[in-house]
């Protein structure tokens, strides 16, 4: 049979229905079609939309607009002058090599942490979703994986100090227990390595969670069909499971990338003041106080994150996979 035929018939039926309706109403059938949904007063619709809209306006749009405005105002010794517009803040940043270098470092760090989170998070999510057969154990283990979230953010960061510090667990083990080093390694803490380690630990769950849900809701029949058609376990993974889990990976990447780009406290605490991120730099300007320059730094950061997310979405065509 041909689908065109079916479509054709359906189209004719629809036309006939419209004609009949027109005959009945003695006029335009469009009105009949427009009211096929439940009738609702515009006020009710407004009431439904209002809370979300107000929330977004107050907590997302308004602060963003404020930051952009502040970044364009003239700095004064105590704050800013809202009546003088200038791009001084941006000029200052682009003329300071430190800012551009820090921006570059922040982007590289965010990409690196995102990649590490995929490498570590994917197997965890895969095991949880496909390796545990009982739903009860699956949920229990998932809650267990979420355990770090029960502890405050700062506590999770500070917990690294006694592990990585000069007199921390690792150095103690290396120097005192097995004696492979005469002196403790300082680079364990206050280094890029330490920051990345801590960031991965902090954010890997944002990667595990969406991948877990994507994998857990995967169509088992597709996997069974692949096996039936001769796919080995490795091929089932490469041809079916992996492509179908990519939307989850992508959402995880957006989470981790955006969160790490804006990171501030981890870099400050684990980096020990020697390593900067755009976040810490903005904070430094804020303390000077140089609010317009701080706002300009934040605006650029938001712009870079938006571009990053847009690129991710553009190249992955997220809606086409699912």
């Amino acid at each position: 049979m041909s689908n065109e035929d079916a479509k054709h018939t359906a189209l004719e039926e629809a036309k006939r229905a419209v004609e009949e309706a027109e005959a009945l109403t003695g006029g335009s059938a469009v009105a009949v079609h427009a009211t096929t949904g439940p009738r609702r007063s515009p006020l009710v619709t407004l009431a439904w939309v209002a809370p979300g809209t107000i929330w977004l306006l107050l907590f997302l749009i308004a602060p963003l607009v404020m930051i952009v405005l502040v970044s364009l105002w003239q700095k004064t010794p105590v704050g800013f002058d809202p009546f003088v517009f200038t791009t001084e803040g941006y000029t200052k940043l682009f003329q300071t090599p430190v800012y551009l270098d820090t921006l570059k470092d922040t982007i590289i760090r965010a990409l690196l942490v995102t990649a590490l989170c995929i490498l570590i998070g994917y197997p965890i999510a895969y095991f949880l979703a496909r390796g545990v057969s009982s739903i009860r154990y699956q949920i229990a283990l998932f809650v267990f994986v979420l355990a770090p979230f029960w502890v405050a953010y700062v506590v999770r960061i500070v917990a690294w100090l006694p592990v990585l510090g000069r007199q921390g667990v690792i150095n103690y083990f290396l120097v005192e227990v097995i004696g492979v080093r005469a002196e403790p390694i300082d680079a364990l803490l206050y280094s890029n390595f330490a920051i990345i380690l801590a960031l991965v630990q902090l954010y890997v769950l944002f990667m595990v969670t969406p991948i877990f849900f994507q994998l857990a809701t995967l169509d088992n029949a597709a996997i069974e069909a692949a096996r039936d058609l001769g796919a080995t376990p490795a091929k089932v993974f490469r041809e079916v499971v992996l492509p179908l889990s990519l939307p989850g990976v992508l959402i995880g990447c957006i989470f981790v990338f955006v969160l790490v780009m804006g990171e501030f406290a981890t870099v400050r605490l684990i980096g020990g003041g020697t390593i900067q991120s755009v976040g810490t730099l903005v904070y430094d300007y804020y303390k000077l106080p140089d609010l317009p320059t701080a706002a300009a730094g934040a605006t650029i950061l938001v712009a870079v994150m938006t571009i990053g997310v847009a690129v991710l979405l553009r190249f992955s065509k997220i809606r086409e996979v699912v």
Binding site: M1, N3, E224, A225, D228, L229, G230, A231, L244, E320
Partner: protein, 362 residues
Amino acid sequence: MTRVSDEQTGLVLKDVYRVFPGDVTAVSDVNLHVQNGEYIVFLGPSGCGKTTTLRLIGGHDDPSSGTITIDGEMMNGVSPAERPITTVFQHYALFPHKSVLQNVAFGLKMQGVDKAEREAQAKAAIDLVGLTKMMDRKPRELSGGQQQRVALARVLVTRPKAILLDEPLGDLDRLLQMKMRVELRALQRELGITFIHVTHNQEEALSMADRIVVMGDAVIQQVGTPEELARHPRNEFVAKFMGDNNVFHGTISGTNGGNVVIDTPHGTVEVPGTGTAGQPGSMAIRASAVKVSTDATPAVNGVTVRLDFAEYLGDSVKLHLDLDGQPFMAKVHEERYTEIRAFEGRDVTASWAAEDGHLLEQ
């Protein structure tokens, strides 16, 4: 694969059981021999074991005991991929991220066939199911009927000895179902491949199968051609499940010529067969073999019933009758609709010839 027998070609299930943990017997004592090129339909209500049997044949589940062989090759323990059979899954299980062409070529890709060759073969299979124009589309851009053809093409391309179809028409609307019945059957004849089809729809089974396997309560209730099943249901389960059968229960009181005489609460019936007096006896009579008239009720093979409702079906009229508070069914030619309708709410006589009834196994 181990060669166990050179004699039996086709698919053979021997003493197959499948018992799930918790002592749930899904499939019990299944013995079946499917000839190559047959169109077999497994028919039964949900939970009767038909899908489990299909999964056992396909290798997606293992029998607890018993053997399954194909052309003499032992299939027990052989993975689905290595069996010369493929499955068209319920809801088709297409790969949503692959195009029609990639879906169809998948089996060959897994066999390591090179790209040009597998695409050529896949295109031929797509052509066979009439979807050449849709080759580059994704499954979600296709209608239900088209998705089903993709699922068919995807298994046909690997040239299996048999194809297993799990409720293949279940997702389609009624008109499309009718069309696909004919198409599937035509395709099966053209290819000469064994089709094993699972459904709970009697009409579908009757219209498509060479032989129907009726399953109920985990066992095979009856195997037969559509005609055999419609005319000679073996037991009450089959008689009731195939529909349009009236069943009488009673006690055998003796024999009369080649007939058994059964005393039932609704009167005496005679039915071809043999039996021992005093034993319980049941018989079935098809709705279409029942004659409805206003004549006096005969002493044997006749009951007085009230006509509740005459249902016009186009080519026939289905009469919903009331026999002492129990439903009774008759079918008459559609020409009699006006005449019969006049009797709605009144008593009429339902009678039948002894040779149209049949004795059911207890």
